[in-house]
Symmetry: none
Subunit: 131 residues, 4 copies
């Protein structure tokens, strides 16, 4: 598999919803494919409208530069990569984006936005783990 | 209900998938809320990458100007509404976008893209009908 | 091969240059991968500056909707797909973009711009043919 | 020579590839002309998709403000040039962009992205040096 299948995207979206409900938060869930194109999107009831674009940007970021979005942000700040977040339309450098890796290949990414950055990250991690 | 619920969006996305499978086509399915913001998005396996943006644009168009997107396009062409399709970031004036109406109110819209315009329209109509 | 290799992109760019020299025209040559991202770009001496963006747009168009860009344009005009060319940032609907297909899969596309549409097309066709 | 020739651009792109292979890294290589327009682009196998736009932005930056892109970034930060990186579509203020100077004139620039900023800079410096 070089890019995420619809079935796997669906499974990951459902796991993200389940974790968000456990944490009692409302989030936007975005899945991008290996080309950083939107594969699936799910907005939970009452999630912020502003989180739509953030969730999609996190998922794009974590494919374009295959790192968790918070690690990518740390790199931007540590290395003073002035203007990096303006490239590729715009990128996001905080928790909630995670690459989806299978057999060592980045086949896509998830982006979660709407809760605290800690909760966004927990949801993303739970959803992409291969179990 | 003033805007579409997540449950209703989910139901409509599933009905659209079902109809697309019946017609043996692969499409992108977008649902926008009453504020023209993305509520849900589903890309079927093998749907064109280019159809992602088109499906979302159709669903945005049919909330911003609450008409089926093909009727909106006819209006643009008949009335020579020069530049109209350039407004609101960009709009789409052909089949596949339909407002979702409940109790006389526009609570959102669906946008389908990826098959012929006739099939896109059939899928959208089937999915939004209240049965 | 699911997306174009650098070696194949290089070969196609060189074949395009060779054909352009035969025709005594100066063009821009763009190659996109299967995700519509730029893989390679070559501007021949004296090619119009304005052709840079056109060549890239043709190559993006022919991946996003896997058709020769002139056939895609014909579809837009015949079916009155108002606003279609404004989607996906912007698309191009005239000769010069051709999908690159190997073993039945679209692995990328070429976009040629700078000469007449007939010559742009000839160059693109010559360059992508598998010989 | 007021702007870079295709032959010189080609030579510089090849020297950049050679240095990148020596360093065992995969990068995107962009060359802009004296008008900051793309002259040539080469993406090495496995280079990040996100590096395409960054490499082009570095090469644009180093023509628009004829400085190495890291020195330009330092200037933005030291002088608190708020919003500078948002101008000209967007600019990049870290290592990897270098003006190409011949006979005291800026005839173009190179932008390298995909490795560490140190390696990106080494590759750019090696490629543009006139030997």
């Amino acid at each position: 598999m070089t890019t995420i299948t619809t079935d796997l995207a669906q499974t990951i979206v459902e796991k993200a919803q389940q974790k968000a409900r456990e944490l009692n938060v409302n989030v936007c869930i975005a899945i991008t494919d290996s080309g950083a194109h939107l594969a699936m999107f799910y907005r939970m009831e009452q999630a912020f409208i502003g989180s739509i674009d953030v969730a999609i940007a996190k998922a794009r970021t974590s494919v374009l530069f295959p790192l968790p979005s918070d690690e990518f942000g740390q790199l931007i700040r540590d290395e003073q990569l002035t203007g990096m977040e303006l490239t590729n339309q715009h990128l996001v450098g905080f928790s909630g984006g995670i690459p989806i890796i299978r057999n060592g290949s980045v086949i896509g990414a998830i982006g979660i936005s709407g809760a605290s950055t800690e909760h966004d990250k927990l949801i993303a991690q739970y959803a992409v783990t291969d179990r």
